[in-house]
């Protein structure tokens, strides 16, 4: 007995573009970009990292390196949920030792994904500095983790969740608040 999901559009395509541009500018203002690498968390974080990297590359006139992380094998809930047969690819180009790495994800919630990403990143080397960039921060942290660059902060109530959609996977660019009568 499920009722249809209630959807509230928080950011439309141009709204997301604007948020990404602002975060790109912040990343450029906050430090040097000569040794910058953007690392997206699978899946939508990867697309967002590519977009932010393209924006910075365009403004700065230099190519920004990007990588991707799939944290499936680093999750802390493997015993509870079991394996996920299709794992995304982890691709970190070259050496990350001494680099400025910005982790990019779509939604920041409990912080467990970010913790797993930090652990996985450490297996590739020791960056000079690691920052966190998220399109939507929905609160509800279960670990002491905060983002350095936030696209939109969202108040989320009981039974609600934030959905980020990217054209590469969902045919549109948007941030939506979804209220569902079913548990998440």
């Amino acid at each position: 007995m499920s009722t249809p999901d209630m959807k509230t559009l928080l950011l439309d395509g141009p709204g997301v573009e604007q948020a990404l541009s602002r975060m790109a500018r912040e990343i450029m203002d906050d430090g040097v970009i000569e040794d910058l690498m953007l690392v997206g968390i699978h899946r939508r974080g990867v697309e967002l990292a590519e977009r932010i990297a393209a924006l910075i590359s365009e403004t700065a006139g230099r190519q920004i390196k990007t990588g991707s992380l799939d944290i499936t094998l680093y999750r802390d809930d493997f015993d509870q949920i079991g394996p996920r047969p299709v794992i995304g690819s982890t691709a970190i180009p070259g050496d990350i030792n001494g680099l400025r790495v910005v982790i990019v994800d779509d939604v920041l919630y409990t912080g467990r994904t970010v913790k797993a990403a930090l652990t996985e990143l450490a297996d590739f080397g020791r960056p000079r500095r690691v920052e966190l960039c998220v399109l939507a921060d929905r609160g509800g942290r279960e670990l002491p983790i905060q983002a350095d660059h936030v696209g939109i902060a969202v108040e989320v109530g009981e039974g609600e969740r934030v959905e980020v959609r990217v054209p590469e996977l969902d045919d549109e660019l948007s941030v939506t608040l979804v209220s569902s009568s079913e548990s998440e």
Partner: protein, 324 residues
């Protein structure tokens, strides 16, 4: 955002490929893909099986398979113990179960078993709650070898469906041949075998397999050849006249390959008898994927261990939920 878990079930154990669905076999091969990357890292370890204890119970000599499993287990963060009783006269029955029960009493999670008796893996799987993976049982099955063969062919030729694969050599003693036949047929490949009549099991056509009597015809027909080792240790006398004779009639040589119209992919599960079933020029040549097979073996075994380790009831449903 929710990731849907593909619908396939592996169950508690991997005893053989016989009876597995095409979705399940493809699911294992697809799961193996991302595991390839881990072995290319500077730190070749992920923590997904941290705290799991895996016993490699090898009642038969093995180098490649045992080490491949051990690498796979360690790269997933598991703790491993190797037990080999090569040379001992352990037979199927009380002794195997007692060994396993003693291991269970020490609280283990998975067993990889290799045994000279067909059915040993299934026998063990029915009697202990740990996950059991068949690392080769007698002349029955060697599922992870067939999976790595299939992954390697798929890497090279882009697909398995509709391909023509010929298994050459000692079919009658080969669990690798049986597992390959079940797996490849399920995924829609055409399978043939080629070898001396004394080494082809009677009634193999009933598995949907055709037979070539001449290796030249097999090479002409096939997209890929899986060249098997003559299992001299399993043979009583009289299967073949001599190794030289075998090489002259059934050996995969460069001269024979050059007559074929296409670039046939060459597989061999190892260990090779160079100059018997395969010539060095072929084993080391550009059509050979023998070393990529070994590399893929680690990835396939990581995938199987990963899928079996977390396969708890209700896991599939729970896995559909996303933490952010």
């Amino acid at each position: 955002m929710s990731q849907t878990r593909p619908e396939f079930e592996l169950g508690k154990d991997l005893v053989g490929l016989e009876g597995l669905s095409a979705e399940t076999i493809t699911g294992i091969l697809d799961t193996a893909e991302p595991f390839k990357e881990i072995s290319e890292r500077a730190i070749k370890k992920v923590p997904v099986l941290r705290g799991k204890t895996i016993v490699n119970l090898f009642y038969e000599p093995s180098t490649r398979t045992r080490i491949s499993f051990e690498f796979a287990e360690k790269r997933l963060g598991a703790d491993t113990v190797n037990i080999s009783s090569s040379g001992s006269s352990v037979v199927k029955g009380e002794t195997l179960v007692d060994t396993a029960r003693n291991l269970e009493a020490m609280r283990i999670d998975m067993v990889v078993i290799r045994h000279a008796s067909s059915g040993a893996a299934s026998f063990l799987a029915d009697r202990i709650p740990s996950n059991v993976i068949n690392g080769g049982d007698g002349q029955h099955e060697h599922p992870t070898q067939a999976l790595l063969d299939m992954l390697t062919i798929r890497d090279r030729l882009g697909r398995l469906e509709g391909l023509k694969i010929c298994i050459i050599g000692d079919i009658v003693h080969s669990r690798v041949a049986r597992s390959n036949i079940f797996g490849l047929r399920t995924l829609g490949a055409e399978v043939a075998v080629c070898g001396p009549r004394s080494l082809i099991p009677v009634g193999i056509e009933e598995l949907g397999v055709s037979i070539f009597n001449h290796v030249e015809d097999a090479i002409e027909w096939a997209d890929a050849l899986n060249v098997l080792r003559l299992q001299l240790e399993r043979m009583q006398t009289g299967f073949i006249p001599s190794l030289r004779e075998y090489n002259r009639v059934f050996g995969v040589t460069r001269a024979r390959l050059e007559k074929a119209a296409r670039d046939t992919v060459i597989l061999h599960p190892g260990p090779m008898n160079r100059g018997v079933e395969i010539d060095s020029a072929v084993a080391d040549g550009p059509q050979s994927v023998i070393l990529p097979q070994v590399t893929n073996g680690v990835a396939v075994r990581m995938a199987v261990l990963y899928l079996l380790a977390g396969g708890k009831p209700g896991g599939a449903e729970a896995a559909k939920q996303e933490i952010t």
